[in-house]
């Protein structure tokens, strides 16, 4: 059943439709991860669960932060805080492309009128030591999703391979709703008792964070936090696997990975403050990657990692 486009009137409806669709396809509906991340991929439900042999299927919204993209809420398309919708299925099913196209139909994109294209775009995350092959999906010339078959994460080969779909929700919704400026987009139904636009919810925060990200964040403190996170990750992973209190084997892959996520976001903030030189950049990325690898190494020794 293809819903009629005109029945879609708000940002949240699109989000709900996607969730309903993927829930119907058997994905576990997870919630956003409770740490600042740059993209939905950082959620351990993707990064860590893509590793090991255990099957997995999950979908979730992930608020994502890219401090350098802040435009004080003025740019029609750019935000330092935005939403990604993420789907991950392992092993990737043979009809993943058809499943994906079904999700576009579910949010009212009529395949008989629109031009959908799979354009080569290989994905690589130097900070996660991860890469995969796939496409950016174009709808009438606009990139609406990223479609990737994971080949490696944290330096480990993915066996089996996960299929990962990432939708940039604001952009997709603006397209479907025919809105030109993100801040004008209805967040809830326009005829709700208290109608809210995206701007009502986020304009002020975009301003506040843009100022803080670019000019105010204490770089010495950020740098110290980065180093603390790095040290804590190493300390967590160096703890013996056998827990003396419970007598059980408990490898703390997730707590260590939290520190990796924090280090990655702190690096992004330092980058936005413009205090990282070109040469240092590579070194920082290398340090985060080392953390991601260490966490992946630890995860694959745990039950969820297929050990």
């Amino acid at each position: 059943m293809t819903p009629k486009p005109e029945t879609l009137r708000s940002f949240q409806e699109i989000l709900l439709r996607l969730s309903t669709y993927w829930a119907g396809k058997g994905c576990a509906m997870l919630q956003p991860y409770d740490l600042e991340v740059g993209a939905g991929t950082f959620h351990p439900a993707t990064t860590l669960r893509a590793l090991g042999s255990r099957p997995w299927a999950a979908a979730y919204v992930q608020p994502s932060r890219r401090p350098t993209d802040g435009r004080y809420g003025e740019n029609p398309n750019r935000l330092q805080h935005y939403y990604q919708y993420q789907v991950i299925i392992k092993p990737s099913p043979p009809d993943l492309q058809e499943l994906y196209l079904g999700s576009l139909r579910a949010i009212g994109i009529d395949m008989d009128l629109h031009d959908i294209r799979f354009v080569e775009d290989d994905w690589e995350s130097p900070t996660l030591g991860a890469w995969g092959l796939g496409w950016e999906v174009w709808c009438d010339g606009m990139e609406v999703s990223q479609f990737t078959y994971f080949q490696q994460v944290g330096g480990h080969d993915c066996r089996p391979v996960s299929g990962e779909l990432t939708y940039g929700l604001e952009r997709l919704a603006m397209y479907v709703l025919g809105v030109d400026h993100v801040m004008d987009m209805p967040f809830n139904a326009p005829d709700a008792p208290i109608p809210l636009t995206y701007g009502d919810v986020f304009r002020q925060t975009e301003q506040e964070y843009s100022r803080w990200n670019f000019d105010v964040a204490d770089t010495d403190m950020l740098l110290k936090h980065f180093e603390d996170a790095e040290a804590e990750a190493a300390r967590i992973l160096s703890a013996p696997a056998d827990d003396p209190k419970t007598g059980k084997r408990i490898v703390m892959a997730h707590p260590a990975y939290d520190q990796c996520i924090k280090a990655s976001h702190l690096f992004n903030l330092l980058d936005a403050r413009g205090v990282i030189s070109v040469t240092e950049r590579q070194a920082y990325i290398g340090r985060v990657r080392a953390l991601a690898r260490a966490c992946a190494d630890a995860f694959v020794t745990t039950p969820a990692g297929g050990a």
Binding site: D112, R159, V161
Partner: protein
């Protein structure tokens, strides 16, 4: 004779890989078949975004049977040897034949290999090809192990002849071959079966798939140009984009849209680049206004609204993109017109290479060099320096950050807008050229000065920090920089001594004197203390002098000082000796590249050697002129013969000199001449010298060589008539001295001893 049809249907294959994949499929399958004994009449390969296909016509129905005879051990040989032979030949003991041979009775085996049916061979070959296909990048999917460019969904493999079509039984990692394929992903997704190429192509077309990439490209181009023509417009040709777009669609539908009036003030290159890079749109130009006014996008389907929705969507995306571009352009212009220097200063904070410092340092070095080179290329020194300082300013602009391929060109726009002289603006665009052998070479003197300075800085800088090209690795494109500088010099007939320029560059940037000055600012330091404080001091100096090159020079100095406790004077001379080695090494590399460059212009390597051996060999224009003249001269009859005469004279002379232990270089006198040919040769040499000397001074190598050619006959006649090693010592010495005159005269032009043949 059956025909074979293969199709590998997958998820979308990257456009850039399709042409190569098509060729690889054809080559690998046909090679495999032929190797197994299956020859064929013709083959053709096809690629669309979702499929690779191969059609082979006139294939043998089976490989021919073969028969081979193999000679074995003698009768009565050890049992083990006979058993081994039987096993190796794949026959049974009683199939062996006994025949008489020179050495007695010997076993022979006859090995008959029956032919195998085509379907067996095809199945083997195709499986092997799929498993080892040379994709530039491949992947696994699901829980399988097979690798393909994207998930492989089905294999169609059909042999057909007059009696009908049969599926070749085979399967690869659970994908079993059939006679079935599918049409367009959206317009005709249902499966259908096919019997052969014609049936396949016809049914595909009905299912909205154009099988041939050439047909798709032609269709796009014709439709786009027709639509443009109807409006009095023209599509900007872009072969690479056309090929790419033809690889993105199975059913191309050309749609033309308008560019919003608010974007028409953008430079055409910006419109074109933004549309091509982000949207894969063609640009459509209005020849009357010399402006890009429309775009062409290619959709992958027909729709009930004739593409209206698709076009509207594309228009919207384009507007967002161009809004960005306009934002960059307007912001950049504001900065360029108020303070262009701000961009130049920003380059101080951008690393070029950690051992060569920032882009800012690099620009300083290039500016100093451009100033030095300017008078040699007929440019105003102040203008050249100014042009060099602004040449890389646009690297700080937002537009170039977004579209790196517009570097230089944007610089030109911005520098013009800032009101600087046109030569300065042009140099920003042209100083990167020539980038390749077919790229055009700048001719405007200021551009030439900056372009040369840029390339010499790159070459010398990377040489000084020991980052030379090795084998196939040339990460900093130094070979390209070398050829670029040759072309700049040779095609503009610039006269300059590269060696001198390189020497002064090295001295200025990292020479002993400069280091000494830098050290002096620290007062009377004990050198071993300096060595201990290595990092601190070179950091301090590099920040003070703002020169990474100098700090490199310093750190090698620290090592010397530490090891040997040298005086400042000794250190200076050590450093200068090191710089000398760098320069000699770099010149040797340049001469090497020069040989490659000139060889490509049909100048043989020995001719280049003969010219390189002459003084002034770092003056490229002179060198090329000399080499061209010599190569042309040697192609003439006189030239080739004169060379023989010269060689003969030189050989006799060298032997005599070696034997007698003296050098016959002076004192040939016509009054001792006995033979008429001898006298003629004297006269001819006098005559030739009269012309050659002034011609050489005027660097008129053609005239000099023409005069030299006049010697051919007298030299030949002389050797014909006269015995050099005469009885009379006076006569012999005079004749050897005469040979020496031939040598001296000829060697003025080039070192002919280095010529072969």
């Amino acid at each position: 004779m059956p025909d074979l049809l293969i199709e590998l249907l997958s998820e979308e294959i990257p456009a850039r890989m399709q042409a190569r994949a098509k060729a690889d499929l054809k080559a690998r399958v046909t090679d495999g078949l032929v190797e197994a004994g299956l020859t064929y009449a013709s083959a053709g390969a096809f690629a669309t975004p979702r499929r690779l296909a191969l059609s082979i016509e006139g294939l043998l129905a089976a490989s021919p049977s073969t028969s081979e005879e193999r000679k074995g051990p003698k009768v009565g040989a050890p049992e083990k040897a006979i058993e081994g032979f039987v096993r190796g030949a794949g026959v049974t003991r009683d199939q062996l034949e006994v025949r008489d041979d020179k050495k007695g009775q010997v076993y022979f085996a006859r090995i008959d290999k029956p032919g195998r049916p085509a379907e067996v061979i095809v199945a083997e070959v195709l499986e092997q090809v799929i498993r080892t296909f040379p994709w530039p990048k491949s992947m696994r999917w699901g829980d399988g192990d097979l690798r393909w460019v994207r998930p492989l969904h089905s294999i169609l493999c059909v042999l057909s002849d007059d009696s009908g079509a049969t599926v070749v039984p085979m399967s690869v990692d659970g994908i079993t071959a059939g006679a079935v394929t599918r049409g367009h992903r959206f317009m005709a997704p249902d499966a259908f079966s096919v019997t052969g190429l014609e049936d396949y192509a016809t049914k595909l077309k009905r299912a909205h798939v154009m099988l041939s990439s050439e047909e798709r490209a032609d269709h796009i181009w014709n439709d786009a140009t027709n639509q443009a023509f109807a409006l009095g417009l023209e599509v900007v040709e872009d072969r690479a984009l056309l090929e790419e777009v033809a690889g993105l669609v199975e059913w191309p539908v050309v749609l033309m849209g308008e560019i919003g009036a608010e974007f028409l003030s953008l430079p055409p290159e910006v419109l074109q680049t933004s549309m091509r890079e982000h949207q894969k749109f063609f640009s459509v130009r209005d020849p009357k206004r010399a402006q890009i006014v429309r775009f062409v996008t290619v959709a992958n389907r027909e729709t009930a609204d004739d593409g209206a929705t698709i076009l509207a969507g594309n228009n919207k995306v384009l507007s967002a993109r161009l809004s960005d571009a306009r934002f960059f352009w307007e912001n950049d212009l504001r900065i360029a017109t108020s303070d262009l220097g701000q961009w130049v200063r920003a380059l101080d904070n951008v690393t070029f290479h950690n051992k060569l410092g920032s882009q800012g340092e690099r620009v300083n070095r290039i500016a100093a060099l451009a100033r030095e080179i300017a008078p040699l290329v007929g440019a105003d020194a102040d203008l050249a320096e100014q042009a060099a300082r602004f040449a890389k300013a646009d690297l700080s602009s937002e537009m170039v950050y977004e579209f790196p391929e517009l570097q230089g060109l944007m610089g030109r726009y911005y520098i013009e807008a800032a009101g600087f002289p046109a030569e300065v603006a042009a140099a920003a665009q042209e100083h990167y050229s020539p980038l390749g052998p077919s790229d055009s070479v700048p001719t405007a003197p200021v551009s030439v000065a900056v372009a040369l300075a840029d390339k010499i800085d790159t070459l010398t800088g990377f040489w000084a920090i020991d980052e030379k090209p090795t084998g196939s690795k040339d990460p900093f494109a130094l070979r390209r920089a070398a050829i670029g500088s040759f072309r700049l010099v040779a095609e503009n007939e610039v006269r300059l001594g590269l060696s001198k320029i390189i020497a002064s560059y090295l001295q200025k940037n990292m020479g002993g004197e400069t280091v000494a000055v830098a050290l002096d600012t620290f007062g009377d330091l004990n050198l071993s203390e300096i060595a201990l404080a290595d990092d601190t001091i070179s950091d301090a100096i590099s920040s003070r002098q703002s020169s990474a090159l100098l700090s490199n020079s310093l750190s090698s100095l620290m090592q010397i000082a530490d090891a040997e406790r040298l005086s400042l004077g000794q250190i200076k001379s050590r450093i200068n000796a090191q710089l000398y080695r760098i320069r000699v090494d770099l010149l040797a590399f340049l001469h090497d590249r020069l040989k490659v460059y000139l060889r490509d212009q049909d100048i043989p390597h020995d001719v280049i050697d003969a010219c390189l051996a002459m003084p002034g060999n770092d003056d490229l224009t002179l060198l090329v002129k000399r080499a061209r003249a010599l190569a042309a001269f040697l192609k003439t009859d006189n030239g080739a013969n004169l060379l023989q005469g010269f060689k003969r004279a030189n050989n006799i002379l060298s032997q005599a000199e070696a034997k007698d232990g003296v050098e016959y270089s002076y004192g040939a006198d016509v009054k001792f001449a006995e033979d008429e040919t001898e006298r003629t040769l004297f006269a001819a040499l006098d005559e030739a010298d009269k012309t050659i000397r002034p011609a050489m001074e005027a660097e008129d190598f053609g005239a000099a060589m023409a005069a030299m050619a006049e010697l051919r006959r007298p030299i030949d006649d002389f050797f014909e008539a006269v015995q050099i090693n005469a009885e009379s010592q006076v006569l012999r010495r005079n004749r050897l001295n005469l040979l020496s005159r031939i040598r001296t005269t000829c060697l003025q032009v080039a070192d002919l001893t280095r010529l072969e043949g």
